[in-house]
């Protein structure tokens, strides 16, 4: 019997790690992975609340979040590949000017 708040604390820790990664990392792919970590943390809290309030809508929303995350990963990685082709670097600090 695990209290609901334990699931929420775990979800919060994952989300916080995602935010920290987003802010401190310099590699664009790692920044993107931190976004995925944030989405995973949110998914856990959706499923936990679905179990708490006994409504399946929470689990279905997780399904949609996963689909949207997959679509976003595809397009985002396409953008990263396109940027890499011109800039030759994956470091966000060096992609700060429109001029090459």
């Amino acid at each position: 019997m695990v209290p609901l708040s334990y699931y929420l604390v775990l979800s919060g820790i994952l989300f916080a790690c995602g935010v920290i990664g987003f802010l401190i990392k310099r590699n664009i792919i790692t920044i993107f992975m931190s976004i995925e970590l944030m989405l995973n943390g949110v998914n856990l809290s959706f499923v936990a609340f679905a179990a708490h309030w006994q409504r399946l809508s929470g689990q279905i929303f997780v399904f949609f979040v996963m689909v949207v995350a997959a679509a976003e990963a595809a397009v985002g990685l396409g953008i990263i590949i396109a940027v890499f082709r011109t800039r030759e670097t994956l470091n966000v600090d060096q992609v700060n000017l429109l001029k090459l």
Binding site: S5, L10, S34, L37, H52, V67, G78
Partner: protein, 173 residues
């Protein structure tokens, strides 16, 4: 009791994976720690009874989206990150700030422990019921997300495939 032990084991694997993602300098190690986080989250979903969501998490998130990430890291030959100039102020203010904020939020959440605990397998999410709901109550979001995936496929093909180079292996479903 077993529920609590399993939750703590897989919860600590999740947190260890998340911290490892932050600590590792090579993106491939971060990607693999994220796969570990997703797999242990799938077990957490199973503890809450969401069996279809757990299976979809492994098949799609850990088995396709992260494979795409690993492909891109391998293709672009991403090397280890260099050490940037860390700011002393950020370290002195940031780390204690995060810890204080985290402890505060956790304390507020844990004070609510008086609510009904979640049982093992609390809300069984059988594929049949979820399928019913998706195709009856949530039909519009379902159709809209399928259009979204179509747009994402077209976007990925246009962005990553250029006429001069060979076709990219990392296409998305």
């Amino acid at each position: 009791m077993l529920h609590l032990i399993l939750f703590l084991i897989f919860g600590s694997i999740c947190v260890a994976g998340a911290v490892n993602l932050l600590v590792q300098r090579h993106p491939i190690s971060s990607a693999l720690s994220l796969v570990v986080v997703m797999a242990s989250l799938a077990v957490e979903y199973l503890l809450l009874g969401a069996e279809f969501v757990a299976a979809v998490q492994v098949i799609i998130y850990a088995g396709a989206v992260m494979v795409l990430f690993v492909f891109v890291i391998m293709l672009l030959n991403a090397g280890a990150e260099e050490r940037t100039q860390g700011s002393r102020v950020a370290l002195l203010l940031g780390v204690p700030g995060v810890l204080v904020g985290g402890v505060l939020v956790a304390w507020v959440l844990l004070r609510q422990s008086g609510t009904q605990p979640v049982a093992l397998g609390a809300l069984p999410g059988y594929p049949k019921i979820i399928g019913n709901l998706i195709f009856h109550d949530f039909l519009l979001p379902f159709e809209v997300t399928s259009i979204l995936i179509l747009i994402a496929i077209m976007g990925a093909v246009v962005l990553a495939g250029q006429p001069a180079t060979q076709s990219q292996p990392g296409e998305e479903r």
